[in-house]
């Protein structure tokens, strides 16, 4: 059960980390292309 919970948390963590990285680049794009 713990393993399954860890997997789900791991997947969510990976998705959030990548989404955050994309958001940071998007903010940089907004600043540069103003």
């Amino acid at each position: 059960m713990d393993t399954r919970k860890n997997k789900i948390k791991g997947i969510l963590f990976e998705l959030i980390a990548v989404a955050l990285f994309i958001v940071i680049i998007f903010v940089a794009a907004v600043i540069i292309m103003r």
Binding site: I11, A28, A29
Partner: protein, 512 residues
């Protein structure tokens, strides 16, 4: 006599396991056969049945050749593992190209082989014509090939066969993968597939919902979602239409694909560690550090360079056209959100230079991505820093330098040397490809762009890769994709193996 016998055993070992791998991949042709049946595409269905029969016969013949010696069951040495991996890819390229050729969508069998190698190596360049009117069966096959190639065909075979194989790890390494998620190879292969299948469900369902939101009918949205997921996760770049990702006209669809291909470019070891609860790995790992730094810097430089040229009017356009393509190139995916010629006509030399650099760097080792990998870039940079520190420190001081990749590892000279050698091999392949392009009359920037794209298994094109390009370039590009994917050593081992065999035969002929 003993040496000759040993060579004979070696050939049988290679033949035996290559046959097994061929049988497993060939049996997967049942999926496009079922797809063709469901969509009542009788001609493609027949094409796949013929191809499957030929592939199964070839697989059985190879196994039968191998079974002449009982030694072929065990005794797998490093040279065999490397040769099996390299040979399987060539045999499967030819066999899997048969349905392409029978479909009539390729100009020649060479073009069919090009597309299959492009799929297996997750490059994504296509010479198949009239992509918008391919049968569902052939589309399923194209995207399946790229999905299987991303995880590795030997990895797939090992999932089923590892208990029978003594030297399974040697074949696994031969395919350019070297990380052990668990202490045994079968478990590692299964975990690699588990990670991919879990994301297959999540990614396909997300893209399916987004597809229906942008107006595709449910069946079409599902098929597009499945194909785009397989291409994104495998950092492949194939799409079921000529306009590639532009077909969907949706920033949401592009962003979901972007998230999937970034995740696909991560090391399977990293996914596994995070799933085991080691979340800090994403920050501490030398590969992710390297990827996040180089991709962020490349995006900023490309945005600044193209902002100066006033190509795109606002940040949204910049994000969709510049950031998407730079990240697609860096992760070696190859989805393009602009037309091929726009790179040449609008991006300027600076933009093309950034793209060439990121295509060569590529994604992570032991992932679905190509290029010379962030791990090697990180190791060589750390090695450089280590040498400078050694020069500046006292001659008597002894310090052990380390880097973090899943666990702390010692940074030694042999590791730096092997990383530098592989990087050099990529650069030499890239240079030769650029020279061949220039020889055939293409501009140097276009030749360099395309050469980086094939050597790094990216799949973006500037307009050079077309069915009408010279056959010499097609052959070189196939070789370059193959070398890049297997990271040179396996192919060199196979060449050495063949040369050794030829030499032996010649010596025997002269003696008699």
């Amino acid at each position: 006599m003993r040496k000759f016998k040993s060579r004979s055993y070696s050939l049988e070992i290679v033949s035996y396991y290559t046959g097994y791998i061929v049988l497993i991949i060939a049996s997967l042709m049942i999926i496009p056969i079922i797809t063709s049946f469901l969509f009542r595409e009788w001609t493609p269905m027949l094409d796949f049945m013929i191809s499957d029969a030929i592939s199964l016969i070839v697989g059985v013949i190879l196994i039968m050749i191998g079974m002449r010696s009982k030694e072929s069951m065990s005794n797998v040495q490093w040279k065999h593992g490397f040769a099996i991996a390299a040979l399987s890819w060539i045999v499967l390229m030819v066999l899997c190209a048969i349905p392409y050729s029978l479909s009539g969508h390729t100009k020649s069998f060479l073009d069919s082989c090009f597309d299959v190698m492009s799929g297996f190596t997750t490059t994504g360049l296509a010479l198949t014509q009239d992509l918008d009117h391919l049968s569902n069966g052939l589309n399923m096959w194209r995207h399946m090939l790229t999905f299987i190639g991303g995880q590795g065909m030997v990895v797939l075979a090992l999932t089923f066969l590892a208990t029978k194989i003594g030297g399974a790890y040697k074949m696994y390494v031969g395919e350019g993968k070297d990380i052990e998620l668990v202490p045994n190879v079968k478990g590692t292969a299964r975990h690699i597939w588990e990670i991919s299948i879990v994301y297959l469900f999540i990614g396909t369902i997300t893209l399916w919902i987004v597809g229906m939101m942008i107006g595709l009918n449910p069946v079409s949205a599902f098929l597009h979602a499945l194909y785009i997921f397989e291409s994104s996760w495998s950092t492949g770049g194939f799409a079921p239409n000529t306009q590639n990702i532009m077909y969907y006209h949706s920033v949401l669809y592009e962003t979901v694909a972007m998230v999937i291909f970034i995740l696909g470019s991560f090391n399977f070891g990293l996914h596994y560690a995070i799933w085991q609860g080691k979340r800090k790995e994403i920050v501490k790992n030398i590969e992710t550090q390297s990827f996040f730094v180089t991709s962020f810097v490349a995006c900023i430089l490309a945005l600044a360079g193209l902002a100066k040229l006033n190509v795109y009017p606002d940040a949204i356009a910049g994000f969709r056209r510049i950031v998407f393509n730079v990240l697609s190139a860096h992760t070696t995916t190859g989805f393009a959100s602009i037309y091929a010629r726009q790179f040449a006509l609008e991006w300027g030399d600076f933009g093309i230079l950034i793209m060439v650099l990121v295509m060569l760097i590529g994604g992570s080792a032991c992932s679905t991505a190509g290029g010379f990998k962030g791990l090697r870039v990180g190791i060589v940079l750390k090695g450089l820093i280590m040498d400078v520190k050694k020069l500046l420190s006292s001659e008597r001081s002894m310090k052990v330098y380390k880097y973090h990749h899943i666990k702390d590892r010692i940074l030694d000279d042999s590791l730096i040397k092997s990383s530098a050698i592989i990087i050099c091999c990529y650069i030499v392949t890239f240079t030769i490809g650029t020279m061949i392009g220039a020889f055939y009359g293409y501009p140097i920037s276009a030749s360099a762009f395309e050469s980086a794209s094939v050597a790094g298994n990216v799949g973006l094109t500037i307009g050079v890769t077309t069915p009408s390009m010279p056959a010499g370039m097609k052959i070189f590009y196939i070789t370059s994709m193959y070398l890049g994917r297997l990271e040179f050593l396996s192919v060199f081992a196979l060449i050495g193996y063949i040369c050794g065999g030829v030499k032996k035969v010649c010596v025997n002929l002269i003696k008699h």
